[in-house]
């Protein structure tokens, strides 16, 4: 029921479907001194694809995402097609001195109509005039999502944005992200340590190990994903790989 409501709302976002970016990484390398964080990663994403990157802490998955966002300089290789990127961080990173609406409008000029529309899509239009300090953690991430989507990005990067939320809010947020992704058609890259989350959202799950892609699994399950036997089998396979070392 709740999901339906959100999906109906999301149709209000004035974003043309099928405008996702095609992203290509070729031989991307990143070193910190002698430590090789990312080593020769090749990756191609189809427009509108939802890819999840999982891996243990310190495997380089966040660095890879930040490299795609242009927040890290590369030590080799190239990333093409990233274009205008929007990123959701682990913390919402809302400006505490701006109202919810003005946070969503950050970097936009003129008419607040679009920003209000985006807030409506995440179900928070009635909080438009509040300070971020008055919101819960889940609501703050929803505002951050609206702020990212209002720019109609061809590529959305998600750096464990749900990591700090409680279990129920996480599931709610996953459904919201999925419905907005279906409605808007952007390409999405999600970094997470949660295998279930990766399987609930992604078309394709990558396991990163020692700075390289160790496993590339297509998730061919109907949406919205139910936690059935095929889901469990995939989860087991990914967990086995992650726990190998």
């Amino acid at each position: 029921m709740h999901n339906n409501v959100i999906e109906q709302r999301s149709l209000g976002v004035a974003v043309a479907a099928g405008q996702g970016a095609a992203l290509t990484l070729s031989e991307v390398r990143k070193h910190y001194g002698a430590r090789r964080v990312i080593e020769n990663i090749d990756l191609a994403l189809a427009p509108g694809e939802f890819v999840a990157i999982v891996g243990r802490s310190g495997c380089g998955k966040s660095t890879l995402l930040r490299a795609i966002a242009g927040l890290e300089t590369l030590d080799g290789g190239a990333i093409t097609g990233a274009g205008e990127v929007r990123m959701m961080f682990q913390e919402a990173r809302l400006l505490p001195w701006k109202t919810v609406l003005d946070n969503v409008r950050l970097g936009l000029d003129g008419d607040p109509g679009q920003a209000l529309e985006a807030l409506r899509a995440v179900g928070l239009e009635d909080r438009a005039g509040d300070w971020p300090a008055a919101l819960s953690g889940g609501q703050r991430q929803r505002v951050a999502l609206a702020r990212a989507l209002v720019h109609q990005p061809p590529l959305l990067l998600l750096d464990e944005p749900l990591g700090a939320l409680d279990a129920l809010t996480r599931i709610e947020m996953q459904r919201l992200i999925e419905s907005l992704w279906l409605a808007c058609g952007f390409t999405a890259v999600l970094v997470t340590h949660d295998v279930q989350e990766a399987l609930a959202l992604a078309d394709r799950v990558l396991v990163i190990e020692d700075g390289g892609i160790a496993l590339d699994v297509a998730v061919d399950l109907p949406r919205p994903r139910a936690r059935g036997a095929p889901f469990a089998a995939l989860e087991q396979r990914l967990l086995d790989r992650l726990l190998q070392n």
Partner: protein
């Protein structure tokens, strides 16, 4: 109940004043040491009625405001500069940190030699004293701005002045206001000393003059005026904080 609790902070000062009055009437306190509160309020009234009080008050207020504006303004500008531009920090900060360790009041002999004993000398002392709290806190506020927010804003396309106006400056504002509040407290202390150097008007002059003639009641009027002005400055600073930092639950 609510009324009682709002009056509670005043209970002790009122009790002290009553005790003081009684002690003066009974003769425990000589008026040479401490005149009774009634005499002080009489002096207040006389000075006010003759208009003398307002001349002194206006002179002192003007000095405080001008000194604060010059010193605080320069502190803010230089703090913003060294906080935002690495090269400016390299060039200026070491020098400023050295000068900071000289107490403003230690400059008095030099200031008198440079500027004589007129207004410029007083304003210079005030400005030097007020400069450093504002400078240091502005610098610190800019430097400790949340880098996560700056990174986010950059990735949303904010550069240059919009980044400064929407992210860095508001992030530094709580710290800048701490500096302003500190400076507002300091300005009165410096003013008292500056006005005793040699002045023709001002509360400090009035007080020093009264001391010469053993008018302890007028001396007390001067001291009370400083207390009131200091309190006024503090109220102003709090109001500024409350207004500028509405978004912060710690100040709302």
């Amino acid at each position: 109940m609510k009324r009682a609790s709002s009056l509670a902070p005043w209970a002790l000062p009122i009790a002290l004043i009553v005790l003081w009055e009684v002690a003066a009437r009974v003769g425990w306190l000589s008026s040479r040491i401490l005149p009774e509160p009634l005499a002080v309020s009489r002096a207040f009234w006389t000075l006010g009625a003759s208009g003398e009080l307002f001349i002194h008050l206006r002179t002192s207020l003007w000095r405080a405001i001008a000194g604060f504006a010059i010193g605080g303004g320069l502190g803010l500008l230089l703090g913003l500069l060294t906080g935002s531009v690495r090269r400016a920090e390299t060039l200026l900060d070491t020098t400023l940190q050295m000068v900071r360790n000289i107490p403003a009041l230690a400059l008095i002999p030099l200031v008198i030699l440079w500027f004589g004993i007129d207004e410029t000398a007083k304003l210079f002392l005030l400005a030097v004293g007020v400069f450093f709290p504002v400078y240091l806190n502005t610098f610190h506020g800019i430097r400790s701005a949340d880098q996560g927010l700056v990174e986010m804003a950059r990735s949303y396309g904010l550069r240059g002045w919009p980044l400064y106006r929407d992210v860095i400056l508001p992030a530094a504002l709580p710290s800048i206001l701490v500096g302003v509040r500190f400076a507002l407290g300091l300005v009165w202390v410096l003013l008292i000393v500056a006005e005793t150097i040699s002045a023709q008007a001002g509360i400090g002059y009035m007080t020093m003059n009264a001391r010469e003639f053993l008018q302890t009641d007028v001396v007390l009027v001067g001291i009370l005026l400083y207390a009131l002005l200091g309190k006024g400055a503090d109220v102003l600073a709090r109001w500024l904080e409350k207004r500028c930092l509405r978004w912060n639950p710690a100040y709302a």
